[in-house]
């Protein structure tokens, strides 16, 4: 099972990236093997969705995860390394969930977790790209996308 969880607040533009990508994904009809979840602001209540499956891809706005604006893909280790290990609050989110899930599901084979974010402005083009990247990394993992990005950067440089 592969799962894409779009998170954010559609009522607050700077935080609406996840919900807007969710709309694109549901309208375009994702592959049957990928489940699409409107994670909204659900926080800790998303934990049951992190205890099973092969891969979970979160989609959210991103700040400071890339040097350039655009779509970025990071893995769990990078996400945790970049986050403040703050204790739980009502605003606690993905890092809290990731830190807790190994305690909550100690014996389970946990799904790989990736984040597809949009650094900078989430314009329509970036949103469509993020939707496509989310489906791709949910299906095949992040490695091919990272390799492609590295090749493009090399050619560009």
């Amino acid at each position: 099972m592969k799962r894409i969880i779009c998170i954010g607040n559609r009522l607050f533009a700077p935080d609406a990236t996840g919900p807007l990508v969710y709309d694109i994904l549901t309208e375009s009809g994702p592959p049957a093997e990928v489940e699409i979840v409107d994670g909204g602001l659900a926080g800790l209540d998303l934990l049951p969705l992190l205890g099973n499956g092969d891969r979970v891809v979160f989609v959210d706005a991103a700040w400071g995860l890339a040097d350039e604006p655009g779509v970025v893909v990071v893995d769990e280790a990078r996400l945790l390394a970049a986050s403040d290990p703050a204790p739980y609050g009502h605003g606690a989110g993905l890092p809290f969930l990731l830190r807790m899930r190994r305690q909550i599901f100690p014996d389970a084979a946990l799904p790989e977790v990736l984040l597809v974010g949009i650094e900078g402005e989430a314009d329509p083009g970036a949103l469509r790209e993020a939707a496509a990247v989310a489906v791709r990394v949910a299906s095949f993992g992040a490695a091919p996308w990272w390799q492609e990005q590295a090749s493009m950067a090399k050619e560009g440089g």
Binding site: P14, G39, L41, D60, G64, S83, A86, G91, I104
Partner: protein
């Protein structure tokens, strides 16, 4: 000596959204306090001119924590406008979902937020500190891990009833959008029973039946000394360290208590109202000191003298409420995006303590009569509320007929006024709605935290937790853990601020992740 006003950045990161507490300290004692909600919400204006039903989808997203609470209030308001007669089974399922949210929230607030303050280095020399660390240390504490695991299972009840998770919008005017199957109900029964088993073992250290025999402070002290299971339970440990810390001397508040009442009783239920009167399980009322008065929602006003909205002397009832942000021209005077709700012109505390006092719960009434409304009694009322509500959940599940009626078609939503008032995890929640030509022309929400965390009103009277902070001794202004104990005893919840996945190097004000 002149009061030295200190802006204390107490760690309110365990509050939803931005909250800043400012206190004036003189001789190591708080002599004044100001509570500032630092984010404009604007949901009322977002809803204006939308379809009448949109509140069912939009208002659950007011908050990432209390989505079912807002869905309940929104559905009740639409029930009122449409004159819906909600079937008994649908009432049970609505109540069950809201109770699930309440019970999980009571426990999460305790062990993921309030009790975390017991691991503050300020308490490091206490003889109980190592045990508190063992139980409540973030990410590692035994009770923290168990709480996340057990509450995570319990909320599956809402997913089962709602048919979607998260952000379900399964309540509609007239009942539910879907009916649970017999298998769904069995699953819910199992989840509630499992949670009850954990709650009895870990939180109470006894059965709920034994706990229900505790009806006074004397009973409570006897229960505590009865055996080691009671003393080592979370309730027992809280009583011991709460008294050691001095929570019983902190956070008195305004001594007015408000409950809107909650959980309509199905016509065929065997349950009776707590407190013995009314048509809801949890009664409505206003307790002024020790005098219990009936509740009349027309007595509510929202005042904005100290809030960042256009001045409106006297305030307004939410039926005629205005939300006109006005953040300039009064810097240094207005200080919060929260309005100041008042009942009969008075500030009022709401939450489990108020709810149980209004219901004349014998244990809580005796505790407050002898010890006062304090951080200790406030948190105790929350921590032990599930002992009352879990058997109710079991009973309503047992009474629910999977082949029964879950929806009655209501009248068309063309025009009218209505409100949905209920008790939610943090207290009294109200949605007021006016519809014309099928569109929303006015939607006003007053949340529990608006009551508890309100700024001063038109008569310069402090809000409840502002008042509760006054008189608090602060040993170390650099680590004012006492203020955290007081404010968190109200279970503060301001609305979500801007959040995003961040590396922490772009926008220093937003260094948290969110979901």
């Amino acid at each position: 000596m002149m009061a030295h006003r200190t802006i204390l950045n107490i760690p309110m990161n365990r509050v939803e959204g931005d909250l800043e507490i400012s206190v004036a300290i003189e001789d190591a004692t708080v002599v004044d306090a100001w509570s500032s909600g630092l984010m404009y919400r604007g949901i009322e204006n977002i809803l204006r001119n939308r379809d009448a039903m949109d509140g069912l989808v939009i208002t659950p997203r007011v908050c990432g924590i209390c989505t079912t609470s807002h869905l309940t209030a929104a559905a009740m308001a639409l029930d009122a406008v449409s004159g819906a007669a909600v079937p008994d089974n649908a009432i049970r399922m609505r109540n069950l979902a809201l109770l699930t949210e309440q019970v999980q929230s009571d426990v999460r607030h305790a062990f993921l937020m309030f009790h975390v303050d017991f691991t503050n280095p300020a308490h490091a020399q206490a003889e109980w500190y190592a045990e508190a660390m063992h139980r409540y240390q973030p990410f590692k504490g035994k009770c923290v891990i168990e709480t996340v695991r057990e509450t995570g299972k319990l909320v599956e009840v809402i997913a089962i009833i709602g048919g979607q998770w998260p952000h379900s919008s399964f309540m509609v005017p007239g009942g539910l959008a879907s009916a649970p199957s017999a298998g769904d109900l069995l699953q819910c029964e199992m989840l509630v029973r499992q949670f009850r088993g954990w709650y009895e073992k870990r939180i109470l250290g006894c059965t709920i039946e034994r706990w229900q025999q505790v009806q006074s402070l004397a009973d409570l002290d006897a229960w505590l000394e009865e055996n080691d299971r009671h003393r080592q339970s979370e309730v027992g440990f809280f009583l011991r360290i709460g008294r050691a810390v001095g929570l019983d001397r902190l956070g008195a508040g305004v001594k007015n208590f408000l409950s809107y009442g909650a959980f309509p009783l199905p016509g065929d239920t065997t349950l009776t109202p707590l407190g013995g009167h009314g048509d809801r399980l949890v009664p409505a009322g206003f307790l002024q000191g020790t005098t219990l008065l009936g509740f009349d929602q027309t007595e509510i006003r929202e005042q904005v003298k100290y809030s960042w909205y256009e001045d409106d002397p006297g305030g307004r009832h939410p039926d005629n409420g205005l939300t006109r942000p006005y953040a300039t021209g009064a810097e240094g005077f207005k200080y919060s995006w929260a309005k100041a709700p008042r009942y009969r012109g008075l500030p009022a505390e709401t939450g489990p303590l108020a709810e149980r006092l209004v219901a004349r719960d014998p244990l809580i009434t005796d505790l407050v009569g002898r010890l006062g409304a304090t951080a200790l009694t406030r948190q105790f009322a929350r921590l032990t509320r599930p002992a009352t509500m879990l058997p109710v959940m079991e009973q309503w599940l047992a009474e629910t007929d999977p082949n029964g009626l879950y929806y009655r078609h209501p009248a068309e939503l063309v025009a009218g006024e209505g409100y949905g008032l209920t008790q939610v995890p943090r207290g009294a929640l109200g949605h007021w709605l006016r519809i014309e030509e099928g569109r929303i022309v006015n939607y006003q929400i007053i949340t529990p935290t608006a009551w508890n965390g309100s700024p001063r009103d038109d008569h310069d009277v402090r809000g409840p937790w502002e008042e509760a902070l006054v008189g608090t001794s602060v040993k170390d202004p650099a680590n004012p853990v006492e203020l955290g104990h007081v404010v968190r005893s109200f279970d503060p919840c301001l609305v979500c601020t801007v959040h995003a996945a961040t590396g922490g190097n772009r926008n220093p004000r937003n260094t948290r992740f969110k979901v």
